[in-house]
Every structure is written in C-alpha cells, then in structure tokens.
C-alpha cells in the first residue's frame, strides 16, 4: 500500500545511487537490523537486502522518492509504504499508532525533500521518534562530519541530493544526549557512512581481525589517502569512534547480548596482521624478527596479502584467498615505503624492496618479475615522487663519483703505461728515449746560448 504524503521527489531515487550516495546497505548493518522487533518503522533509504533482515510483525516504510516507494511497495506488499516528507507523516498515521522499533540507518538528512527548508537535525530526530514507544528501540545512523571518508576525499562536485550544502552535523556526544534513551551499543562504521563493512564498538579493543577487515576495502581512486589505512591506525590508537565515517547507535530497550560487539566479530583473537607485525618490527629495526615473519609467510600462505594474514602463537592464519605471491610481496613493499616503514632498507624503490623482502625469506626474485602497479592515492603518489627524486639525486651523485674515479684511474693508467714504455725496448720506447735525448741536446744548446 503506497501513501503519498506530499513533499515527495519525482524523477529521483535514493535507492539507485544515481543522485547521491545510495541507500544504507550491506551485511554489517543487516547484523543490527536483525534486532528490530514488533511493529517497525523503517525511515529513509534502506536497501531491500537490509529490510529483508528485519523480522517485523508489521512493517511501515517511509521514503521520499516516488520511484523508491513503488519499488518497495512491489517488494513488500504487506508493508505500509509512505512517500514524502517525514514532517507530513505524523498527520497520516493513526492517532494511536506506536512503533516498537524505528530504523533510520541512512541518517537524518534524507527524510525530507526540496519542497521545504532543510530542518534542524534535532527537530528531525524528535519527529522520527515521536511515535516510538517509551520501551521501544531506535537504530540510528549519523554521518561523522570529520569522518575518515571526508578527511581523505578529494574535492568532488555536489550531487542531486545536495540541494543545500552540507555544513556538517552534530558530534556523537551531542547526538547521544539528544536521544533521551539509554544507549545499548554505539558503533564506529567504516569505510563508508552508508555501506560500512566494519562496525567497531565503543569499547572493542584493537585486533588483527578488525585491522584486516578494515584493510580489505580497497582505496578509492583519487583519494588523498587510503581511508582504510587511516581507520586502521585510528583503531590502533583507540580513536576509531572519532574518525568513523558514521556512527550507528542502538538506543532504548534492545538487549546488548543480541547485538554483536563488532562486525566482524573479533573477540578471542589477539594476533596482529602480518603486515602490522612486519611494519612494527621494521620500525624497531628488529630485522631478525622481520626475516622470521617473512620466512613463515613464504613457507605458508605466501599468496595471501600480508594485511589478510593473522600472526598467532600457533602460526599464521589466512583470512582471504591467495593472489600472485610476487604481487602480495609487492603490496607489502609499497605499504612499507608509502607509510614510512622502509627506512630499514637501503632500497631503490618498490620493486627493489620487493626483491629484498623475498631475499629475506630466502627467495631470489627477478626484479623483472615484480608486477607493476600505480599508486592509487595522492598520499602514495607523493611518497613515490619523493622516492624517485631521492633515487635520481643519488644516481646523479654516484655517476659524478664514478666519473671522478674513472678519471683518476685513467690518469694513473696513462702514467703507468708511459713508465712501462720507457722501461721497455719496444719501438715507441726507443722513440721516447730519442725524444728525451733530443730534449737534453736542446737544453745544452740553450744553456750555451745564454752563457754567451
């Protein structure tokens, strides 16, 4: 059943991703959506995959684009689907309608349309929870205005969804205060605010499993830096919440035990990733430890990228499939160089360090067999430019030094050859002696001349 509320968008979709960032989606958010119970209101653009995870007695869906409402109405015939402005919903609902769960994982800023001024987020939140039972549960997503995805994003043109500029929303503390309900769990979502693959609980400790999960996301081409690397570093120093792309909050009466402490679940695993272990050992210049780790890797899951291998006391555990072993080594070399952990080696660039890492594991790799790859982010590009500038300056200095050495040797050789000729009885030597003799005669002549 499709109910137009007014303020709905035409020739526009939040679900198809063509006019903005697309719907809230992905397996990680589905893990939260599964806790929804009873009568459920899903407000804002949510991917059907996410809605499928909700086991509701009665489902109400609110979207602002007509085409999205049509899509959802067709897929969920039993649901009540409302189209338009959240602020118009109140009037359309039964006076006694109340929800056990409100799901708004796509945030607060896509619940109204262009027909009115953009409201304050506090007002949107108040409207969103107006019909939530006092003992109900709220699942809320809030984008972080200084999230890692923003800090690393290159300048980009505004999308259709940005009919007013985003000047940055509230911080997490402010949001939690405004909820006026107990917070069951709060998560830092990475790398994207709408499609996070990793959720890190406020008190989830750093772990290799989470580091690996963060690094499984490949960097967006053209990013200033790889957001996943920044996120991984933030997690290591206990700052994941501060740099999250978005926060996901479960507030109200849900049981904490029904919710994961992190996605992926990382409890019980204490090992670091192989990449981190090698980076740390290299930073400390503990090269014997680096050799040991490289050997274990090359004799075990050699083709699994180092950021997808966990080092545990019992050995190495691979978390993903293999690629070309030389490519896995090259990626590690690039990470070490781009992130300032390659000072331990007198290397000549990524390919050369790749050969060095292989050699430390006892494998002699031909530099020509190291795959080629372009640096994907500006950070890496700048790092590689600086490397190349250093290598060029060194090559020039070495050329000059070898030139000088060659000149010195040539001079020495000339002197030696001359000496050899003078001492031998060959033709040129006889001529040399004749010349020396000639000089003596000339000197005598000159002396006599002066005497007169």
């Amino acid at each position: 059943m499709n109910h137009p509320l007014g303020g709905e968008l035409l020739a526009y979709s939040d679900l198809d991703g063509a006019h903005g960032v697309g719907p809230a989606r992905g397996e990680a958010l589905a893990a939260l959506a599964r806790t929804a119970r009873g009568r459920v209101l899903v407000a804002g653009p949510h991917d059907p995959g996410l809605i499928d995870a909700i086991s509701a007695d009665r489902l109400t869906l609110l979207v602002r684009a007509r085409s999205d409402a049509d899509t959802l109405a067709a897929r969920y015939p039993a649901a009540a689907v409302y189209t338009g402005d959240l602020f118009a919903l109140e009037a359309a609902l039964d006076p006694d309608a109340a929800y056990d769960t409100v799901v708004a994982l796509a945030g607060l800023d896509r619940l109204t349309g262009p027909e009115a001024d953009r409201p304050e987020w506090t007002e949107v939140l108040r409207r969103l929870t107006a019909r939530l039972r006092p003992d109900g549960t709220l699942l809320l997503g809030i984008g972080n205005p200084v999230g890692v995805h923003r800090l690393t994003a290159p300048p980009a043109p505004a999308a259709d969804q940005d009919w007013v500029d985003d000047v940055g929303g509230p911080g997490l503390d402010e949001v939690l205060r405004e909820l006026r309900r107990p917070v069951v769990r709060a998560y830092a979502g990475f790398p994207s605010p709408v499609a996070p693959t990793v959720l890190i609980g406020a008190d989830t400790p750093d772990s290799g499993v989470l580091q690996a999960a963060l690094l499984r996301n490949t960097a967006v081409e053209g990013a200033l830096a790889d957001p996943s690397r920044v996120a991984a570093r933030a997690l290591r120093s206990g700052s994941a919440m501060a740099l999250a792309a978005a926060w996901f909050v479960v507030a109200g009466s849900a049981a904490a035990a029904d919710l994961p402490s992190a996605v992926p679940e990382s409890a019980g695993s204490t090992g670091r990733t192989l990449e981190e272990s090698i980076s740390l050992a290299a930073a400390k210049r503990d090269l014997p430890a680096v050799r040991e780790l490289l050997q274990a890797w090359q004799q075990g899951p050699a083709g699994v990228p180092a950021d997808q291998v966990i080092v545990e006391p019992a050995g190495l555990t691979a978390l993903s499939a293999s690629i070309e072993p030389a490519e896995a080594l090259r990626r590690l070399a690039a990470v070490l160089i781009h992130n300032g952990h390659a000072y331990a080696w007198p290397h000549e660039g990524v390919a050369d360090l790749t050969v060095a890492l292989a050699a430390m594991a006892g494998i002699e790799l031909n530099p020509a067999d190291v795959p080629d790859a372009a640096a994907p982010t500006w950070h890496d590009l700048v790092a590689e430019r600086d490397e190349l500038a250093r290598l060029l300056a060194e090559a020039q200095a070495q050329r000059a030094a070898y030139q000088q050495l060659a000149d010195e040797r040539e001079q020495k050789l000339r002197e030696t050859l001359h000496l050899v000729e003078l001492l031998s009885t060959s033709g040129p030597a006889r001529m040399g002696r004749a010349f020396v003799g000639g000089v003596r005669v000339a000197r005598r002549t000159a002396r006599r001349f002066r005497l007169r």
Partner: protein, 278 residues
C-alpha cells in the same frame, strides 16, 4: 670517492662474503662501504668519503643506530665478515689451546703509536699465566728493534699479514691466518679494546684488556676516544672478565646475532643471484 671501494677488500673481507654467497673469482665489487674494523663512530674510517645512496654496511645494530644519529641513514647491519668466516669454519682445531695471544695497540699507515713498550712487557709477564704470542701490525712488525724487544722478553712474535691497499695488494688469507692463531690460544688480550679482542672472544678465547693504552700520534678523539670506550664497555676491561657477558658483547658488536642468509646478502651487495650464477 677515491678511497671508496678498496677498503671493502681489506683483510680479504669481500672475498669471505663472496665465498659465503657462493661467488667465485677475485675481489667482487660491493655496492656499499663495508666496515673493516670495530669502531665507536659510524663504523667507517674517519677519513672516509661518502656518496649519497651508497649504503654503509656495518657490523652491528648498535653501530647502525649510531651511524643514523650521525646522519648516515643508509646503514644496514649485516654482521662482520669475521662472524661469517666462523660460521663457514666452525671446526675448532684439534690442537690444544695454550697461552695468550696479545695484540699491542697499533698505529696504522697514517699514525704511529707512542708509548712505553718495556712497561707493557713487564705487565704482560706479570699477568699472563702461560706462553705469550705477540701479534704486531705489519708496520710495527717491520721494526726489527720492536720485534726484538718482545722476543727478548720470551714472547713469540707474529704478524697476521698485510691488510691491503688501494692498488690491489690484497691478502685474502689474513683472517684465516688470524683465526688459526687465535684458536691455538686460551686467552686474547690487548691494551685497548679493539677488533682483535672481539674476534678472539668470538673465536672462543677468554678476553682481557689491561695495561697502558698508549697514544696515537695526533690522536683526535672525535667520538670520545679511550675514555668513552671504557665508559661504554666497562665489562670488557680488566685482566679477568665475565666470560658469558664478554661473549654476549662480542656477538653483538660483531653482529653475529644478525647474520644474513646468502640470498639477502646477494641482494644487499648487488651481487648476481644464484640463478644468474647458473
């Protein structure tokens, strides 16, 4: 640049590393400056020239850290050629070890040593329980007077050989000779903590450092000199040392705890790989 690479061949160092890497032939060119003696600076001789990008190949991690602090950021700790020699020739000589091999502090081609050898001889006689072999630097060994003085004290006087120079007068057997000699002795001693004392310790001798440390002509203690050596390595000074501690120090200073496998060394020295060698 003029004095860059030839020091890599001193004492047959490059030859030992080449053998370790499975390379035959004469003195192979090393891309780097190989430390050729123990020192308390950046590992290189004080008059060493540097070219950017040419790595310093130092013996120990401690020296590498120090070199970095002195602005040499391309140093790599690979261990001393001596440690590789011992790895390749682990066998002790059957011959019973006897007495002490004693290395009076020596000068070099550019500086002579000034000091009282008679007093030193008396102290050695007083301290050493067994027969004493005095090992002189080639320069001092050429002084008949000096040799005679030690011989008259009842010591055997030897010389390990000529360390080498720029124009190819190399002695690849130097360290082999030194190892054979040291393995014949129970103790290794000197009046200054020096390369030979560390070598002897690693080769199984009990080390001792005592007696007048003497002076080097125009000695310039740019890295703190003897005073610093005594401060930093007090455990290596005395007539009787704690053997376990001394051995640990020697292992660290000679980089015997950080030896590379041949594949890594071939990469580092820019030598052909095993495949390329056929």
């Amino acid at each position: 640049m003029s004095s860059v690479h030839h020091a890599n061949h001193y004492y047959g160092h490059s030859r030992i590393l080449a053998r370790y890497c499975g390379l035959d032939g004469d003195f192979p060119r090393i891309h780097g400056y190989l430390q050729h003696g123990w020192n308390i600076g950046d590992g290189m001789a004080p008059d060493h020239d540097f070219v950017p990008g040419v790595p310093l190949l130092v013996w120990s991690e401690r020296t590498r850290r120090r070199a970095w602090s002195l602005g040499r950021h391309t140093a790599y700790a690979l261990g001393s050629p001596w440690a590789y020699l011992l790895r390749m020739e682990p066998g002790e000589l059957r011959e019973q070890r006897r007495g002490t091999i004693w290395y009076p502090f020596h000068g070099w081609e550019g500086q002579d040593v000034l000091g009282d050898h008679s007093r030193l001889i008396a102290q050695i006689q007083l301290t050493e329980p067994g027969p004493v072999t005095i090992c002189l630097y080639w320069q001092e060994y050429q002084s008949r007077r000096l040799r005679r003085r030690y011989e008259q004290a009842g010591f055997r006087v030897i010389c390990h050989g000529y360390r080498g120079d720029r124009w190819g007068h190399q002695d690849p057997e130097f360290l082999h000779r030194q190892l054979r000699e040291q393995r014949r002795h129970v103790r290794v001693a000197s009046n200054r903590l020096s390369t030979a004392v560390f070598y002897g310790t690693l080769a199984g001798c009990e080390p001792a450092v005592y007696g007048d440390p003497m002076h080097l002509q125009r000695e310039n203690p740019v890295y703190g000199g003897q005073a610093r050596v005594r401060r930093e390595w007090p455990e290596m000074h005395g007539e009787q040392l704690d053997l376990a501690v001394a051995r640990e120090v020697a292992v660290a200073e000679l980089g015997a705890d950080r030896l590379l496998d041949p594949a890594e060394m071939r990469w580092l020295l820019r030598w052909p790989t095993e495949k390329a060698m056929g």
